[in-house]
């Protein structure tokens, strides 16, 4: 065990994967000698050489197209997109190519070894283009897996699982927590299961679910609610696609109330999918409507970032509304 922040845990996962399998290659803008603008790939070029960890030209569509080709050839690419806000030039390669390679070829070819890492989310004074949470564009795409860790220990285990999973994975890293989240991380090689949510706190009155950095918001809200005598069950979804219906349904059947929190805008956010599916399977158990606490339906602002954020207070308001329904 070592104390690590989330970046160091990512770095440790990449190091572990590269050591164990020489087909693992890390590349992207500034990831080579410099180690990435956030330093997630620090020292990997030193350790494994320029042919395994390197800078690419500044072209996201190129990076992912290249990664698709590499994966088809049998290598294990871990491509970095410098900010999730800049993933869109690669949208065609991801949605039309990465996601559909296996299906369209009858599994003659696939890019299952590909992992795309990218920092996402707000809270760093990043404004419109250094703050977005674009996960729902990708959860709408059959063929992709979408994973979001909440802390260093989770990040290492989930990233190793993503690299080794035989499906292309989009791995969204909560950059607000890169240095802010510090915790004990096993030094050895380990994986955490994809497709499984984790119950972080048991409760009886309301279920709260979030992923990534917003897990902190619902944990804080659960604390505040406890002071008001409301018992919340807190769940980290961890994998958004395919998501863990059973864990959520079991919790919802117990509490009868559900609040979904995400940073991305409300309309067509992933919360909409969770709410729609869970009301189908748990309708008779519901005590109140499923609520979403999300970013507003606006681009991510700068000066009014605080006013935009679906923080613990907005979650608490929703908890009270749900219980008082």
């Amino acid at each position: 065990m070592s104390q690590m922040n989330l970046l160091q845990a990512i770095n440790s996962a990449l190091d572990t994967a590269m050591k164990q399998d020489e087909r693992v290659l890390c590349f992207g803008e500034d990831v080579g000698a410099f180690g990435g603008v956030f330093r997630a790939t620090s020292h990997l070029q030193e350790k494994y050489g320029k042919h395994r960890c390197f800078n690419t030209p500044l072209t996201e569509q190129g990076i992912i197209g290249f990664a698709n080709g590499l994966a088809t050839q049998g290598q294990v690419p871990v491509a970095e997109i410098q900010f999730a806000d800049y993933i869109f030039p690669a949208f065609d390669q991801i949605v039309n190519e990465t996601a559909k390679y296996r299906y369209r070829s009858g599994n003659e070819f696939n890019v299952g070894s590909l992992t795309i890492r990218t920092p996402y989310g707000g809270g760093i004074h990043g404004g419109l283009y250094h703050s977005q949470s674009p996960e729902a564009y990708f959860t709408h795409t059959p063929g992709l897996k979408v994973v979001v860790p909440r802390n260093p220990e989770q990040a290492k285990g989930l990233l190793l699982a993503s690299i080794r999973d035989d499906n292309p994975v989009l791995f969204f890293e909560p950059k607000k927590l890169y240095r802010a989240a510090v915790g004990e991380v096993p030094d050895e090689d380990y994986t955490l299961p994809l497709g499984q949510a984790e119950v972080l706190r048991e409760g009886t009155d309301v279920t709260l679910v979030a992923w990534g950095a917003q897990v902190q918001a619902i944990e804080k809200a659960a604390e505040l609610a406890a002071e008001a005598g409301i018992s919340c069950e807190v769940i980290d979804l961890r994998t958004l696609l395919p998501w863990d219906h059973d864990t959520l349904a079991t919790s919802l059947k117990k509490t009868g109330r559900l609040i979904i929190n995400h940073e991305a805008p409300r309309t067509s956010g992933f919360g909409a999918e969770l709410a729609a599916s869970l009301q189908e399977s748990c309708f008779l158990y519901l005590e109140s409507p499923i609520l979403r606490v999300t970013g507003w339906d606006t681009p991510f602002p700068l000066a009014l970032e605080k006013e935009y954020f679906p923080n613990e207070l907005r979650t608490l308001d929703a908890i009270k509304a749900s219980v008082g329904y």
Binding site: E29, D30, G32, A33, F34, V37, N55, P57, L58, T59, E60, Q61, G62, D85, Y86, F88, P89, H125, G126, G127, L128, Y129, H130, R266, T267, W296, D297, T298, P299, P301, L302, A303, L304, K306, E307, Y308, N311, L313, R314, D317
Partner: protein
């Protein structure tokens, strides 16, 4: 017949592959560092008034960049980007244009904007994201824009402005306006697909646009030789049917002359032009960056000796148009103006809550009206958590009651 390819123009009977080209396009330079012209070089026809305006813009930008970087270090602003060492590229190219020509910039072109007349207060209001910012406090510092000055608001995603510039220029052509568009971008951004799309469309559609690449040696930490192969960015131009020139970006006179001629071709002949301006980013990429991890002090010092501002000042002094004493005095004036404007901008309120919801559409649809109402109620329930907006919402509520 619409297949216009002429395949028989030159036939060979041996397979002669063309070699990739490196450094065959020459660099246009007029001024030496000491301010004298190269033998045989001719200064462009530049009035004293224009020359002094260019130099004054340089001095303003130096004062602005220096002060804002210091403010970032003091925690007064979250982010900043200097253009130290590159001032001649954008300022002198903008100086060669008509005020009605439109500028699509990347982000490191504050000189062009200042030259157009963006005031020190306008700079500060944007940087401090206050309610007087033309962009309503929504974007990070340095994402300027002004309709009045024909400077399209900066967008962080790289390269996106390049095909837009082509489209805007096509609009000029359609409406028969004798104007052109200039589009600035870095050599890093020139690797984006949008660069290739934008240049190709410009070449095919024949539009009045000048693509102006600031090749400053780096894209964050990535040096040019890891960014592109072949003969730089200029090497791309002829392949897309563009008139192409490489210019010394630290030579104010050469940049001015290159752009003046480019404008003529763009406006008179609808001939798109690519200019690659060779310069150096003397500062860090941004306030979040530390270049000591990827380049040497020695390299920086070599470029410091080629400072474009000093070179132009030397020329002005040799012309008898300017003196060192005037220079010192003007620098002090700019520093004071920047410091004073900063104090004013810092004191201004952030934008009101309504500006979180406005401009998503022309009008607020029902769901945004609803969300704005929810935000207002929530903030009033927890005023202590929202010091920027709660007091004003409260005051407005009481005013109404």
């Amino acid at each position: 017949m619409s297949d216009l390819r002429n395949l028989d123009v030159e036939l060979v009977h041996q397979p002669a592959f063309l070699d990739p080209v490196t450094s065959v396009i020459p660099t246009f330079r007029l001024l030496q560092q000491d301010g004298t012209l190269y033998p045989g070089a001719q200064a462009p026809d530049m009035s004293q008034e224009l020359a002094l305006k260019i130099h004054d813009t340089f001095l303003f930008i130096r004062a602005l960049d220096e002060r804002m970087l210091a403010s970032q270090r003091q925690g007064r602003i979250s982010f900043y980007m200097t253009q130290t060492g590159e001032e001649a590229s954008d300022t002198c190219s903008a100086a060669a244009l008509d005020a009605g020509d439109v500028i699509f910039a990347q982000y490191r072109e504050q000189g062009a904007l200042a030259f157009r007349g963006f005031s020190v207060d306008q700079f500060m209001n944007q940087i401090f994201s206050n309610h007087k910012d033309l962009g309503k406090g929504r974007q990070m510092p340095i994402h300027y824009g002004s309709r009045e000055l024909n400077y399209v608001t900066i967008s962080s995603p790289l390269g996106t402005q390049i095909p837009q510039a082509t489209g805007y220029a096509f609009g000029f052509r359609q409406s028969q306006q004798k104007q052109c568009v200039i589009c600035y971008f870095g050599e890093g951004a020139a690797s984006e697909g949008d660069f290739h799309a934008g240049l190709n469309m410009a070449g095919v559609l024949k539009v009045p646009v000048i693509f102006f690449c600031r090749n400053n040696g780096y894209a964050i930490s990535t040096p040019v030789h890891e960014q592109l192969a072949g003969d730089g960015v200029a090497g791309r131009g002829p392949g897309y049917g563009l008139k192409t020139l490489r210019v010394d970006g630290n030579d104010a006179l050469a940049v001015y002359e290159a752009t003046r001629l480019a404008r003529q071709m763009a406006v008179e002949e609808h001939q798109p032009v690519l200019i690659e301006s060779m310069t150096y980013r003397l500062g860090a990429h941004s306030s979040s960056d530390d270049p000591s991890g990827y380049r040497s002090r020695k390299e920086e010092d070599q470029w410091r000796d080629k400072d474009p501002v000093a070179r132009f000042r030397n020329w002005l002094i040799k012309q008898g148009w300017w003196t060192d004493a005037q220079d010192q005095a003007r620098q002090a004036e700019h520093r004071k103006a920047v410091a004073d404007a900063m104090k004013r901008a810092e004191k201004l309120d952030s934008p009101p809550l309504e500006d979180l919801f406005s401009d998503v559409y022309d009008l607020l649809p029902w769901h945004l009206q609803q969300q704005q109402q929810q935000a207002r109620e929530h903030i009033l329930r927890h005023p202590q958590a929202y010091p920027a907006t709660a007091p004003r919402l409260k005051a407005a509520g009481e005013g109404k009651a």
